[in-house]
Amino acid sequence: MAQPTINVITTKAPDNHAPVSYDLERFVHALKTAGVLDFVTGLLEQRDSVLHLVINEINQPGVKMAVNNMEQLAAFIGTIPQETWHVVLMAAANGIKSMNDPKASTQNEGMGIFQLLGALKNPETARAVRVILGFLEGFGRAWSSSSKTTP
């Protein structure tokens, strides 16, 4: 003959947590030994304020411009065919080597126009000049069309 009741006597629930795995224990111990655990814990617990500080710091015009420029640089490098780039780098390396030749690097006298023209008779020098002229033409063309579309 039951009277209504809302009294519920609960027993403390047994600790049903699954035992921490051995590997996880080892990992945490290793972090602690390396002195990293405290650092990571602090970083995670203070995530919001740390992030706020980082964002404030990087949200500066100079930083943003640098990141943007880096992106564009990466995009630029991605447009150059690999073989061409290889040749350019090889040629630059060879040029730097030639630069260090005492014949080129130790003479201090000026050069007259006829000496310059004489240098152009060297087929390798002429080839380099032609390559540079080709580069200048393409550079100038792109610069010119970019100027037209810029508001």
């Binding site: 039951a2 209504p4 009741t5 519920v8 006597i9 992030l51 964002i55 949200n59 943003k64």
Partner: protein, 997 residues
């Protein structure tokens, strides 16, 4: 090729479409997609965004709104079309800041994100510009609006105005920067918004978001705003082009699949049976996401289904079996509980016999669980004493329909109600008790000229909208139906062909109706003759009539008789077996239909099979290995008396708060105190559970698999979204374990699918039901043949009677119970929109409590004036059976001496403390609606304020308009449409009428 099937050429490919299709319709049906934002399949074309522009012979047109013509040529990729799409997208992004990676709406289904990608924008042409308003409106407890993210597509307005038809939202196009407003520009929490969730569901971006999603859906979305804003600014400045940013956000979106589970389920609240996906993160409910493919509701929901799931994780949930010792419950193991129960049950059975038990099934548990409970009663114990709470509500309607047309369920689908020429609603507060059904009626009435007649004693929302509102005297609507039936016969406005071919008993019925002249009807009901004649004329002119009814009819002594009268009226006028016609008794609980269908009734086996039928008995004996009990069992209404008379010694209740819902609830509680043993299987420590000897913690719908049957006879699957909480278990597992402990030798069911398979083998009504046929959003409406053919519309071949014909059945009206004249007030009762019944589940939601903190008694202004009452006055209502105390709410929804008490009280205000002992003459359904009482003022000052907060929508006014009023947008000089085709240039017709489905 038929006249209505046309070929058109889209991007060089010939595709077939139908007359009346738009270009976008044809493309989507053929799995071709073009950008589109404001268009939604459930809303139709809205024409605000212009992202769907395509090129035709005539120029640029909107694909969403342009009807196809034979041999039309469409180009979606031409330069002009793509330029227009890009321009439209750019204009949208001027209103919306893209920060997808840190946005809670980045779940793969963000329309703005996906369409921006689809259009192929690389750079935004117009930088995002904030709007000059307070950014966030978070005054609604369930969702928030971020005005800065709003793209003004108008979907929310369209959904609110023309789908939910609550008519709260609009866009103020007159502002310099237009914005969405609630009512005339009040905070959401102070508006007429009913928190149905439609606007949030259709929002194509994160402007409208469920609060439960904020900071929870994404990996990076819970970053505080003061850090988030500079982060977003940093990304915009560093990477102004969109594709890389989208890649990052797509990665983050893909990662969310590992933390967010999307599970299809069916709402656990009312009998409409809305289905949707529920998104969970572990046990956390993130949101309810309805889908156009949901067969009953599409994208529609109400406050409870969309936002009322807090109860699942309530700290009040029962998590451990409890055994009573003295005046306290002590935690026990499952094995201890089972052994105790089995021991006591076998003892009682030996001492007092099987019929000393009573089993009550839950109308919230699944079909499989109802089946197992009645099997426990009949097979394990040997009694037919099993029932569910349909006895409290729709049994009279079931009776009325079985006598006339044969099946005791809705004769069609909600889609039939939507397409009817005329709908009559009798005794149903549909907008609050079956909100999504009401949306279909409201939409049809507003947009498609559906005629609406409401018959009720209370002026609720549907009554306010009705073309004719009939207010008969309490308990006389049955007489009014008879009066109108006689008038129709007298005018010869009946369907002779239908009657001669399909119906018997016309002459007898005509003779029976003779006394119900207009004058006699007016005398009894108080309804003017002119009104009755007007409604009859409307019925005569309507090609199709559907009648909806609910507790206002059935919870009376004449509930069955009035249901008979309604069915007879539909037969007289030929309104069965055709689309848009039929009888719709609206079922209350999510599975009260299923609980009866699957045999939890004292006089029916599964499928309404007769336990006395020899063939049926033989079939069950072969399957169960045991003879079925023969004696008809007792029902819920008879239980209290049977206990007090000493016939019932033990009660086993699953998911039913009998101690609160039984009429004369005080008697029910007194009876419980007399039992020798009581088991309650529940999710909360309810009023009823407080009397138990053993309480078993059960799992609600999100924690198990199974099926429900809704009011359309539609069987739908629910899928498990999360594990049972702590040590609770699904009811079907508990019942199976219980049977095993009783020595019942059942097969071992490893999944509810196997239980359904067994039930289907035994039940011709759903012989073809299998889980495979119910996968996902598929559903079956019984009867279901073995080959899986189901029955959305009943009686298309014949009526379900031995002779194949329907029967007109004469009836006997008894009138309302008579009580002493001192009980001078009529106490109507029912449920509110926000709380489901007593509120065991809905009170667990803080948001719902914010909107409706408690119950009250509605008193008319004239009675308040007469008795010197004000809002908040504490009154006691005293009836012959008991009393309740509640604060007064003065409202013109009631008139004269008719009061209204909602059911949502768990304490002193419980309405069933005063409902009486009258019952329906055929089915014993309690006559809850015939409660009479007198009033005492307990404390004139009382609460000192309205018991319903003034911010509640009931104190507000709606702002109806047709859709988003897009003509006002294009009339602005700063909004230049991108269409160029002459025929398509904006006209009133194009924009405001023909665009609607």
């Amino acid at each position: 090729m038929s006249q209505n099937v046309w070929e058109i050429i889209i991007d060089g490919q010939t595709i077939t479409g139908h007359r009346g299709d738009t270009i976008l319709d044809v493309m989507l049906k053929n799995n071709q997609d073009i950008p589109h934002i404001c268009y939604h399949p459930s809303l139709g074309p809205i024409q605000t965004c212009d992202t769907c522009i395509v090129e035709t012979e005539g120029g640029l047109v909107r694909a969403c709104a342009t009807k196809i013509a034979p041999n039309m040529t469409v180009n979606t990729h031409s330069a002009p079309a793509q330029e227009a799409q890009a321009e439209a997208m750019n204009r949208i992004l001027h209103n919306h800041q893209l920060y997808c990676t840190v946005c809670d709406n980045n779940n793969g289904n963000c329309v703005v994100h996906n369409t921006t990608k689809q259009v192929g924008l690389v750079h935004q042409k117009y930088p995002f510009e904030r709007k000059p308003y307070e950014k966030i409106d978070a005054t609604n407890p369930f969702y928030r609006y971020d005005v800065d993210q709003c793209i003004l597509c108008g979907r929310c307005v369209e959904a609110c105005q023309d789908l939910e038809v609550n008519e709260t939202l609009s866009i103020d196009w007159s502002l310099e920067r237009p914005r969405v407003i609630w009512d005339d520009g009040v905070p959401i929490g102070e508006s007429s918004c009913v928190s149905c969730g439609h606007c949030v569901t259709v929002c194509p971006c994160n402007a409208l978001m469920e609060k439960t999603m904020l900071g929870e859906a994404g990996y990076l979305t819970n970053i505080p705003q003061e850090t988030l804003e500079p982060m977003i600014e940093w990304v915009e400045d560093v990477e102004p082009s969109l594709p890389p940013v989208f890649t990052l956000s797509d990665i983050e979106s893909a990662m969310r699949k590992s933390r967010i589970k999307r599970t299809k389920t069916v709402c656990t609240y009312c009998g409409v049976g809305c289905s949707f996906d529920i998104w969970t993160k572990g046990r956390q409910v993130l949101k309810v996401e309805p889908s156009p493919e949901a067969p009953t509701n599409g994208i529609s929901t109400c406050i409870k289904g969309k936002f009322g799931w807090d109860f699942v994780n309530s700290p009040q949930r029962l998590t451990q079996p409890l055994i009573r010792r003295g005046d306290a419950f002590y935690e026990a193991t499952w094995e201890e509980a089972y052994r105790l129960i089995a021991e006591r049950m076998l003892q009682i059975k030996k001492q007092h016999g099987p019929d000393s038990f009573m089993f009550i099934a839950s109308s919230k548990a699944t079909n499989e669980e109802a089946y197992l409970l009645q099997k426990l009663a009949r097979h394990a114990i040997g009694t037919n004493n099993v029932d569910n709470d349909s006895t409290y509500c729709q049994d009279p309607a079931t009776y009325g329909l079985r006598q006339t047309v044969g099946f005791g369920g809705d004769s069609g689908s909600v889609s039939d109600i939507a397409q009817a020429d005329m709908v009559m609603i009798v005794g149903s507060n549909t907008a609050e008790s079956h909100p999504v059904v009401a949306t279909r009626v409201k939409r049809a009435h507003k947009l498609h000229g559906q005629k609406l007649v409401v018959v009720d004693i209370r002026r609720h929302e549907m009554a306010e909208r009705a073309d004719i509102f009939v207010q008969p005297n309490p308990g006389t609507d049955g007489v009014w139906i008879l009066g109108i039936s006689k008038y129709l016969i007298d005018q010869d406005w009946i369907d002779h062909d239908f009657l001669s071919q399909w119906v018997t008993g016309f002459e007898d019925y005509k003779e029976f109706l003779a006394p119900y002249s207009l004058e006699h009807t007016r005398t009894i009901t108080g309804v003017p003759e002119q009104t009755t004649m007007q409604v009859a004329s409307m019925i005569h002119e309507a090609h199709s009539l559907s009648i909806l009814w609910a507790m206002g009819v059935t919870q009376h002594r004449d509930g069955s008789e009035t249901s008979l009268a309604i069915a007879n009226l539909l037969l007289l006028t030929g309104n069965f077996a055709r689309p848009g016609t039929g009888a719709y008794p609206l079922r209350g609980h999510n599975n009260v239909q299923g609980a009866s269908d699957f045999g939890a009734k004292p006089h029916y086996l599964p499928g309404y099979q007769d336990p006395a039928d020899p063939e049926v008995r033989e079939r069950f004996k072969a399957a169960w290995g045991k003879e079925l009990p023969k004696t008809r069992g007792i029902n819920n209404q008879e239980l209290a008396g049977a206990i007090l008379q000493g016939r019932i010694k033990m009660v086993y209740i699953v998911g039913e708060d009998t101690g609160l819902v039984d009429a004369n609830a005080e008697e029910a509680r007194q009876a419980f105190e007399q039992l020798e043993f009581m088991v309650v299987q529940e999710i909360f420590l309810t009023k009823t559970a407080q009397y138990a000897d053993v309480i078993l913690p059960a799992s609600p719908s999100l924690e198990k698999d199974g099926t429900f049957v809704n009011t359309e006879r539609r069987i739908q699957r629910i899928y498990q979204a999360m594990e049972p909480l702590a040590n609770s278990r699904p009811d079907w597992i508990i019942l199976q374990d219980m049977a095993s402990h009783l020595g019942a030798q059942w097969p071992t069911y490893t999944h509810p699918e196997e239980i359904m398979a067994e039930a289907a083998r035994l039940t011709p009504l759903f012989a073809g039901v299998t889980y495979e046929r119910l996968e996902g959003y598929r559903s079956l409406q019984w009867p279901v043949l073995e080959d899986g053919t189901d029955s959305p519309l009943l009686y298309t071949q014949s009526f379900h009677q031995p002779d194949g014909k329907a029967h007109l059945v004469a009836l006997t009206m008894s009138g309302m119970s008579q009580v002493d004249a001192k009980y001078d007030l009529h106490i109507n009762n029912g449920q509110l929109l926000e709380h489901f019944h007593e509120g065991n589940m809905t009170y667990q939601s803080a948001g719902i409590r914010h909107v409706v903190p408690g119950m009250f008694v509605e008193v008319s202004p004239e009675l308040a004036h007469e008795r010197n009452l004000q809002d908040g006055t504490m009154v006691r209502l005293v009836s012959p059976t008991g009393s309740l105390t509640a604060p007064v709410l003065i409202t013109d929804r009631v008139s004269g001496k008719a009061l209204y008490v909602p059911m949502n009280s768990l304490g002193e205000g419980a309405v069933n403390n005063i409902t009486g002992t009258g019952i329906d003459t055929r089915t014993s359904t309690p006559a809850y609606k015939e409660t009479r009482a007198y009033m005492e003022v307990v404390d004139p000052q009382g609460l000192g304020r309205s018991p319903l907060p003034r911010r509640n929508w009931r104190f507000k006014h709606r702002h109806p308009q047709r859709g988003v009023n897009v003509a006002a947008k294009w009339a602005r000089r700063d909004y230049i449409p991108l269409v160029t085709a002459q025929k398509h240039l904006e006209t009133e017709e194009t924009l405001n009428g023909t665009a609607h489905n």
